[in-house]
């Protein structure tokens, strides 16, 4: 059933949810500011989900604003761009904008203040281009989802088929953050244009813009923009087919105001509020015909398509009571957050913490030099009174408050027990994967249990186990493949040896018959002939016997086999005797020939291989000697090294 939303359609409720104090007030009052260029930009190569791209610049290069710094690698990664013109002074490990505080490869760019642009290529005739071409452009412009985890927008759009409704998410439910709010107030028209581009790309029948009811100004700005849009749309559709008006009303964006409740900005939660439907477990919104994009992403799409600008900057909220002038600002990607704080009049208090993101889902930063990246929406510097640091954790009293608050209808207290017991199978059974880490449960927990923390650790552990399992499976396959290969090689070697032995035998037999012939011993020759005949006779007899069938043949074959064996043995003995004799005869013959100095040719023929053999042995000996010398030399060198080492340590 297709999803349909109208301006008057009913709003639904998602389970749970909380009402934390909003505290958006000081930050959302003023226009988005623009700070002077920072003295240094730190542009990390890893900003998105997916593999890092490959660097295409070097230290000392002069780059222009918007110039790509990486070529996206496998898996449709995104390139990162120089966010202003300047010189690359270094490329090294720098703290990442990540809760772990780990470092990653970062391009350090010193701005020259000229803001000289790399050639921009807007898509002026988007309608003439295929969806694929536009998506390629979006990928080249580095557009990623600016609301959540920074998923590449082109990939999200390309992966979504049969979309009924495109929802532009302007809910921004987390306390303090006002970035999207200010962007909507000031750039509603551009956001709308970007939304239309996305609608065209997804072939969505409906465009819905969702805003929380605590942002009336943003809603008003959108209403105005939508009205203006309908007027221009009327003009453009002038004289169009009669179906045009129906199509137009369909294309008319629908503005939905949703009640304020955390976390209504979550993808699954907002879909539930608007449509009453739940995204299936482990599924995507696209499975029920819905695609969601953040307002800031829509804005970035508009800049990329109509102006040819890569994603170089985003709105960041700088707030908290430790900041004198809280507000929002356009921050170039790569701006270190201490610069943003300094520009906003940061007055660190005692044991000041700085939080990246909002108070519910953000993380405490480990280093103030970490840069703004595509997913950075807020830098929060709260005082102690404002946000008390976490208290000591107490035991769970099974009050059930967390269960009521959970928007994903999970059992947080149960998950917490299981996580502490490291019962990963149990966690999977209780759908830990569906936890959106919203923090609602931890917020209401009277025992101050950092619940989300446990879930994150458990999730990481489960992920790690999965990776390890995959790796060990691959190792097993490789090991088995190798074993099979070794086995095969061994068999091939044996086969070769067998063949060589056979050839030797054949040659010997030939020689033997020759020898017997030369020896002119008619009796022995006759004997040998008879024996050969007998062997030949018994061999076909054994052969013809097998087709007789298994029934009853067992008792017959055994005695015959014995006979065979006996004759075989006799034959073998005789053959060995004959061989020995032949050999002796040969030797005698040769000795005689040598003595007589008559047969020169055979001697030469026999000596040649001897020479070869001697040469080969000499070479092998030389090699072995060289090896030994090398080893000795190395040992000596090592000894020397160790002695110098010990000397060094003695001196030191």
């Amino acid at each position: 059933m297709a999803v349909e939303i109208s301006a008057t359609s009913k709003l639904w409720r998602f389970p749970g949810g909380i009402h934390p104090p909003e505290r958006k007030a000081p930050a959302n009052l003023n226009n988005i500011q623009r700070f002077p260029l920072p003295p240094m930009l730190f542009i990390p190569l890893h900003q998105h989900i997916g593999e890092d791209g490959e660097l295409c610049v070097a230290v000392g290069d002069y780059v222009l604003k918007g110039q790509p710094l990486t070529i996206p690698g496998v898996n449709n990664g995104l390139p990162v761009h120089a966010t202003t013109s300047g010189t690359i002074t270094a490329i090294h490990e720098h703290p990442l904008n990540h809760p772990s505080g780990l470092t990653g490869l970062t391009v350090c760019l010193e701005p020259d203040g000229k803001e000289a642009w790399y050639p921009r290529q807007p898509l002026n005739n988007m309608d003439a281009l295929s969806q694929r071409e536009v998506l390629q452009h979006l990928q080249a412009m580095g557009i990623a989802g600016l609301g959540g985890a920074g998923f590449p927008t082109a990939r999200k759009v390309a992966g979504a088929k049969n979309i009924d409704v495109l929802i532009i998410n302007g809910v921004e439910c987390e306390p303090y953050i006002a970035s999207d709010d200010r962007l909507m107030r000031e750039h509603a028209k551009e956001i709308l244009a970007g939304s239309h581009i996305l609608q065209k790309l997804t072939f969505a029948k409906q465009l819905v813009i969702a805003i929380e009811d605590n942002k009336p100004e943003a809603a008003a700005a959108f209403r105005e923009a939508i009205e203006q849009f309908s007027v221009t749309a009327d003009f453009s559709a002038d004289g169009a087919d009669p179906a045009g008006s129906a199509a137009r009303t369909n294309r008319q964006p629908i503005l939905k105001i949703v009640p304020t409740r955390y976390p209504s900005g979550g993808e699954k939660q907002l879909i539930q509020v608007l449509t009453g439907k739940q995204v299936p477990v482990r599924g995507l919104p696209a499975d029920i015909g819905i695609l969601m994009q953040n307002v800031a992403t829509a804005y970035a799409v508009e800049r990329a398509v109509n102006h040819g600008e890569p994603l170089l900057e985003r709105v960041v909220t700088i707030t908290g009571e430790a900041v004198k002038n809280p507000g929002t600002a356009w921050a170039l990607l790569g701006t270190p957050i201490d610069y943003l704080l300094a520009q906003s009049g940061f007055k660190p208090g005692k044991k000041q913490r700085v939080i990246m993101g909002g108070p519910m889902m953000g993380f405490t930063v480990t280093n103030l030099q970490i840069p703004v990246i595509k997913t950075t929406n807020c830098v929060l510097a709260p005082t102690h009174k404002e946000l008390t640091p976490p208290q000591a954790e107490m035991a769970c009293i099974r009050c059930g408050a967390c269960e009521i608050a959970c928007p994903a209808s999970l059992l947080p207290q149960q998950l917490q027990w299981l996580a502490k017991a490291q019962d990963y199978a149990g966690l999977k059974q209780h759908h830990l994967a569906d936890c959106i880490e919203c923090g609602a449960c931890a917020y209401v927990c009277p025992s101050q249990i950092p619940l989300v923390q446990y879930y994150r650790q458990a999730k990481a552990e489960i992920r790690e186990q999965t990776i390890e399992q995959q790796k060990s499976e691959i190792a097993r396959q490789r090991f088995e493949a190798r074993q099979a290969r070794l086995e095969r090689e061994k068999e091939e070697r044996l086969e070769k040896h067998r063949k060589a032995a056979e050839a030797r035998k054949a040659a010997q037999a030939a020689r033997q018959s020759e020898a017997t012939a030369t020896e002119q011993d008619p009796v022995k020759a006759a004997l040998a002939r008879v024996k050969a005949k007998k062997a030949q006779q018994t061999a076909p007899a054994a052969n013809t016997e097998s087709p007789q069938g298994p029934a009853g043949s067992a008792s017959q074959t055994t005695p015959e086999h014995k006979v065979d064996q006996k004759t075989d043995q006799k034959d073998a003995v005789a053959a060995a005797v004959a061989r020995a004799k032949a050999k002796k005869a040969e030797r005698d013959r040769l000795a005689q020939a040598e003595n007589n100095n008559e047969a020169e040719k055979p001697i030469a023929a026999k000596n040649a291989p001897d020479h070869d053999k001697k040469d080969a042995v000499a070479a092998a000996v030389a090699r072995a000697k060289a090896k030994k010398a090398e080893r000795e030399r190395l040992a000596q060198a090592e000894n020397n090294a160790s002695t110098t080492n010990t000397k060094g340590s003695d001196n030191g």
């Binding site: 772990s100 519910m360 994150r456 790796k471 490789r478 090991f479």
Partner: protein
């Protein structure tokens, strides 16, 4: 006589049901993984031989035949626990005689020192080393299990076992182990503090 009818009827039903069940048990038998496969699936497949067997599978067979569970250092306690779960035996701590549970490592060849002897290739149980006679060799890091077996045979000792670096994607959220920036008025100091934060 009615009790006789009852007994006969019930017996008939029991017999019929028994036949049906018996047939179903044969007809719809589920081929379950043999226990050796399941054990092998839990072992880390490092193929290092520290357990005293020439690879993971022989050890899996040995476990199935009653050997101790705690001889595999690369798998560590986690594997022992899983094995104990699977087999319904008691989980014991790792047997120190076979080695300790160490940090994950990966082999790296110092390539300019490699003489191209191919000895390490012959030693590697998972074919993770690439090279040819008298050519420089290198380790495919993604395939290396860190089993250590290539280090010994190298005649010029150019193989190092280096710890695998943690990447942000595989970081395990051990917040209590990282210093959090706490900016005091005046100076920058870093002290450790958990980061779960909330609105008061």
């Amino acid at each position: 006589m009615s009790w006789l009818v009852g007994i006969i009827a019930l017996s008939a039903i029991a017999l019929a049901a028994g036949l049906i069940l018996g047939f179903a048990a044969i007809r719809f038998r589920v081929e379950s993984d043999p226990i050796v496969e399941q054990i092998d699936g839990l072992l880390p497949q490092t193929q290092c031989g520290q357990c005293g067997y020439p690879g993971c599978r022989p050890y899996a067979e040995a476990i199935a035949n009653g050997d101790e569970l705690n001889k595999c250092p690369p798998g560590g306690q986690a594997t022992i626990d899983q094995l104990a779960d699977l087999l319904g035996r008691e989980a014991k701590p790792l047997d120190e005689a076979h080695g300790e549970e160490a940090q994950k490592t990966v082999a790296v060849i110092r390539e300019d020192e490699c003489i191209g002897c191919t000895k390490c290739i012959q030693a590697c149980p998972v074919d993770a080393i690439l090279g040819a006679a008298k050519q420089m060799h290198t380790v495919i890091a993604d395939e290396c299990t860190g089993c250590d077996l290539c280090v010994e045979p190298c005649p010029v000792d150019c193989i190092d076992m280096v710890p695998v670096a943690t990447k942000p994607e595989r970081w395990k959220w051990q917040l209590d182990q990282i210093p959090v920036a706490v900016v005091d008025a005046g100076q920058n100091t870093a002290t450790s503090a958990p980061s779960a934060s909330k609105v008061s």
